[in-house]
Structures are given as C-alpha cells and as structure tokens.
Symmetry: C2
Subunit: 231 residues, 2 copies
DNA sequence: GCAAAAGTGTTATTAGTACACCCATGC
DNA sequence: GCATGGGTGTACTAATAACACTTTTGC
C-alpha cells in the first residue's frame, strides 16, 4: 500500500489506519499587561485554531492561511513549534503546532471565529491544546534571551516602558529600567522618533520604532521553512 | 470523513487524499576528524533511515526504535528537528525529522541496514534528505554555543584535545586551546580521571569523563516530547 | 636533541548587574 | 506642590578574547 521509491527498513507498513495530520496555531498577543491567546469556538467547544495540510503548499503557508482566516490579517511572526502524536476521542492525529505573535494594540474585540483569552487561564482547552500553549509560552520565554522575537508583539511606535513591560510579562519578573534601556540601545535595532506620547499626569515618553533591517537570524526555523522540496 | 469533535474552522476537509507521515532520522557521529551521517540502502537506493508513526507510541519512541533498528544500540541523544510537507514521486508526505547523536568511537564498520558517509558529502541523497541533513548540521552548530549537546558524540573517556577537535569540526573553525579548556572547566561538568593515554611520541594526555548529573536543560525539546497527551 | 602534542597564566575588553536621583507633566 | 511615570550614570563583577612558552614523551 505504501510505495515510496525507498521503502522503510525494519518497521514496515502494517496496513493499519494512517494518522491524520492536523496543524494547530497558538497565536499570542500582548494587551492590558498580560499575554492573550486566540481560541476558536464552534458551538460549545473552545479550541486552538486548527486545520489540515494541503498538497502543494508548505506547512508554513497553511499555518499562515489558518491564522489569517481567524484573525483577518497576515502580517505576523510565525514559527513551527513541535509535532506530536495524539490519540483522542477515537482519532489518531499527528499534531504540528505553530507559534504566532501578533500585535493587536489592545483591541481584543471578539472576532467571528473566536476570541482572545488570557494565556495563563486556558482551562477550557483540551489537554493537548493546553500542552501546546504551555510549550509556546516556554519557547517564547526562552527565545527572548537571544533573539529579537518580542518585537513582533509591538505596534509600529512604542515607548521603552511599554517594551520593557512586554519583556517583564513574558519572563514573569521585573527588570531594571536602566539596564534594560542600555541593552536595547546596544542591540542597535531601535530608532528613536522625534514624537512623544503623553499618557497621564507625568512627563511624556519618547516613541521608538524598530529598524526595518534587523535581521533576526532565526535560530530555530530552517531557511527552507516556507518552501517545499522539489524532489 | 474527518470527524474530530471540534471541526476545523474555515478550511475544511476537501475529501482529497491525506498525506502519509514519515519519520526521518539524521544520525551523526564523529570519527577521523569529520562528522558522518548514517544512510540506509536498499538495492540501489541511498536514503536517511525512515519509518512511519505507530498509534499509541510517541514520535520520539518511534524515532528511537528506528535508530535502534539501524544501529543496533539505544543509548543516544535524540531531538526532533522539523516537520515539512513533501510531494515527491507521486506521494505526498509530511516528513518529521529527527537529529540523533551517537558515539561510534571511530568504528564505522558497514552495518546490515546501511553505512556511515561523510556528512558533507551527501550527494547520493535525495533533495529532501539533503535538506534535512543540512538543517541537522545547522542545529547542531547553533546549539553547541549554549548547550552541552556535543558531549553525546564523545566516548566515556576522552582527552580535552579530542573534545576540542569535535567542537572545531562542528563549528568549522579553530578554537584557542587555553580558552577552550578554561570554558570547559568553568562549566563544571567534566571530571578528570587519574588515567592518561599515550598517543604517539609526545606527552600523554589526561582522560576526562562527563559528570553523570549534567542536566542539559534542553531548550528546544518540550518536556512532554516523549509522552502522548491523554486528551 | 628534536619533533610532536600536552599543558598552563596574564592582560585587555566587553557584557552584565546592582543601585538612586532628577525631570516633565496634570491636577 | 505633589503625585506619577520618564529618563539618566557609575562602580563592581564575570565572561570573553588575544597571546607564547614549558613539559613529557618516542625516536
């Protein structure tokens, strides 16, 4: 039945049912001081956005399309997380999970396909969905130390305090203001604009943007993540 | 046809053929100053060891079993790399790739299932196999900087020059001997044995082993990589 | 005694950490 | 004038990088 040109060695096709492949996306956004994750809901069920792969399309493209279908826009960071085997409710699937970071600028209005829920309160999700969300948060935390990943959660213009707030929320601890600002400055990826923002009864804050050419040198995503091999 | 309890939103099952899922393992070992990768061969075909997932078994377990079936032993490092969609020779598959590091102590004798070939000369492999090998090497190089991953390529007892040689080969550049040794010492994961090894007409080298309790704090593999969610 | 790899210290630079006060604004 | 968050500098410590000679052995 399975007839690739190079058959498997030792472990052969038993003729048993093959697993489905399912893509799931953990979309994270930052608002009101916490991280939110997007969940879809149909009738009573709350779950991560999911779909199936399509022949002739890379998994990345499919995941992108899935997110666009749920959130309605397409400018976001997307990274494959992990694949795992899952047997639930009689169905055997291989889950391929993705992490997406999106900037909502605090606008968490309920969407047609679902809603944003606090990423630390995901009790309504299935166990497998919760595992994927936990791993997404773990990965985000880990990569924060050696990549510029958190930038994808920021709007085009932001204050340094806002940026620090995002870091502190993800890491779960406070950071020293002066050291944080020095670190950001030495990274050389921020450009101060001439604009400021008044936010209350105190001194206005300078607004910054990210330099367009900050090559993230992505450590985890292979260079060919978005293409399909031709062979 | 596809009937999970929570159906996908927007992108629905079209009833078209579903992809197969295939696991592929890049097993790397260090010998004679270079990295080797294990390739299986049946009749005229040379390819990475591959197999199919099994219901009720985690993908990690399956990959481990696959490697054991090819190499005949089971004590090795294994890490999931990436999943990608691949349409070749009329078959559509989702490839789930793994990186394994094994210690052969220079014994690259041809095995029943295949042979070791230089990891930089993989011309006989298919394009998709070559992509996976390239990414495995990339990941190994990247993780070398912030993990203890290279230890899995070493035999139980080794000299510091041998260890440095492995690092230099993976990184593709030379390292300063004194700085390298200092770094290894401050990591605190090496124990010097009282034994030495004479290797030629020069001073014998002290032999070291890795401390058994060096927790690698794996940055990329989720904690639940080896289990299946119970739903 | 010479070839060949093992082994060892110091200095300069850089990155990280800890820590406290003045500034601009609204009310 | 006071409450609020914005903004800044210095000193200590740890990690990194550059660099050269002595030691032990076989022949």
């Amino acid at each position: 039945m399975i007839t690739t040109s190079h058959a498997t060695n030792e472990i052969r096709d038993t003729g048993q049912a093959r697993p489905m492949v399912e893509l799931r996306v953990v979309a994270l956004t930052f608002a009101h001081g916490v991280l939110f994750t997007f969940v879809a809901n149909d009738s009573q069920n709350v779950h991560l956005p999911n779909t199936y792969p399509v022949e002739g399309e890379s998994l990345n493209e499919t995941a992108m399309r899935l997110l666009r279908a749920n959130l309605g826009f397409s400018e976001q960071y997307m990274e494959q997380l992990y694949s795992l085997s899952h047997s639930g409710s009689g169905n055997w699937s291989i889950l391929v999970s993705y992490l997406a970071l999106v900037c909502t600028e605090g606008d968490l209005a309920r969407l047609d396909q679902g809603e944003w829920v606090s990423a630390s309160a995901v009790d309504r999700l299935s166990e497998s969905d919760r595992m994927v969300v936990e791993y997404a948060l773990f990965r985000l935390r880990t990569k924060l130390g050696y990549t510029t990943i958190a930038f994808h959660l920021m709007p085009p213009l932001f204050t340094l305090s806002e940026l620090q707030n995002v870091f502190e929320t993800i890491l779960g601890r406070t950071l020293d203001k002066r050291n944080f600002r020095r670190r950001m400055a030495t990274l050389g990826i921020l450009a101060g604009s001439r604009q400021t923002r008044r936010d209350g009864s105190h001194r206005p804050a300078r607004l910054y943007r990210f330099l367009p050419d900050h090559d993230p040198t992505d450590y985890l995503t292979p260079p060919w993540a978005s293409v399909q091999p031709g062979e």
